[in-house]
Amino acid sequence: MKNDDFINALVEDHATRPGVSRFAMGIVVAFGLAFSLAIFLAFLGIRADFAHVVADPHLVFKFVFAASLFGSLLPLVKALLRPEANIVSPLFYLLIPALVLACGIAFQLATSPVDFWVSGMMGRYPIACLRSIPALAMGPLVVLMVFLHNGAPTRPVFSGAVAGCVAGGMAAFIYALHCPDDSALFVALWYSLAIAITTGIGAAMGAKWLRW
């Protein structure tokens, strides 16, 4: 088929517009969190003592950390939609959550006696955390994948990894409603590990689904 012929087909197809809405990013976040929350309410549920600890800085820290992680990465997701995007080092986007995490750890070390550091870090339910956060991340991850697939990311594995990390952050935010382990050291170790897992899953999905 000659180019001129082929162009006929593209011109005729021009009326069928693909498109991302300007509000798409907000919708992605809303849908992602809603998905995660729905699974959460069906299988886990909010911790019994939630009303008593709601103002506890330990709990607040978990939410702030998770929100800062996925929130800081959203501009990166948006940039990856465009093929010509000039991505500064991904580490730049992780500065704020890293800072939040460092503050949390410092606060924990300053306010709890040395004897409680290790037991706080290991917590009571580390394995549940490692299982739940990736499970809760699957909904938002699929939403993010569809979103990125509709764009034109030229680095499929990296884009998938970023999506996995964002989904992990969203899942951590939801899981914090349930998680009874409140030490910032627990968050630093197990939440990070769980989010690393979702990042890996995202990278693998990206390699498969984000090529175009």
Partner: protein, 186 residues
């Protein structure tokens, strides 16, 4: 402002008009884009040692990618880097496909070469063969619109379909072709 910037600036104006619904501007955009992409592809292909027979495949594949991803260009941004990025991405696909056949070292840093205006006269290349993997109806629709230059309405009449169905078949057919191309590269 260099030659590439001047040329692509005009393309930006055309795509902007096309986005506003001007089909003629869209045709003009694609017709001007083809030689530009051909030049870039020739530069890139020369460096990876792929035979020129693959050149027109690369051009059509890139045009198809630009078409399917045209909503990712932001009208307030220069269009040149956007086009170059898509072309580079598609050339890497091509290099990967060829690299597996011939084990050629891949240098992923393509440079933009001067545009080549003429279109090599190739009767039927890969895109024709790719059509085999597309459903029969979609194939018929894409073929009659491309080769015979029929409009959606004409195809709807001859194939006894609604215009909406033709539109959908065309769009899905093009997407399936892009998908088939991609699978060849894996």
């Amino acid at each position: 402002m260099n030659d590439f910037d001047t040329k692509t600036k005009a393309l930006g104006v055309l795509l902007q008009r096309a986005n506003a619904g001007d089909a003629l501007a869209y045709r003009s955009f694609l017709e001007h884009l083809a030689p530009l992409v051909r030049g870039m592809a020739r530069g890139g292909i020369g460096r990876i040692g792929t035979p020129l027979a693959d050149l027109e495949d690369a051009v059509q594949e890139t045009l198809l990618a630009v078409h399917l991803k045209r909503h990712t260009w932001r009208e307030d941004q220069p269009i040149g880097p956007w086009i170059a990025a898509i072309t580079r991405y598609k050339l890497i696909d091509l290099a990967r496909k060829y690299g597996r056949r011939k084990e050629i070292e891949l240098d992923e840093t393509f440079e933009l070469a001067a545009p080549e205006p003429e279109e090599p006269a190739l009767a039927d290349h890969e895109i024709g063969r790719l059509m085999e993997s597309v459903s029969e109806t979609q194939q018929k629709v894409v073929r009659s619109i491309s080769i015979k230059g029929a409009s959606i309405r004409e195809v709807a009449v001859t194939m006894n379909m609604t215009e909406g169905a033709v539109r959908v078949a065309l769009h899905r057919g093009l997407k399936a072709m892009a998908e088939a191309y991609r699978r060849l590269a894996l």
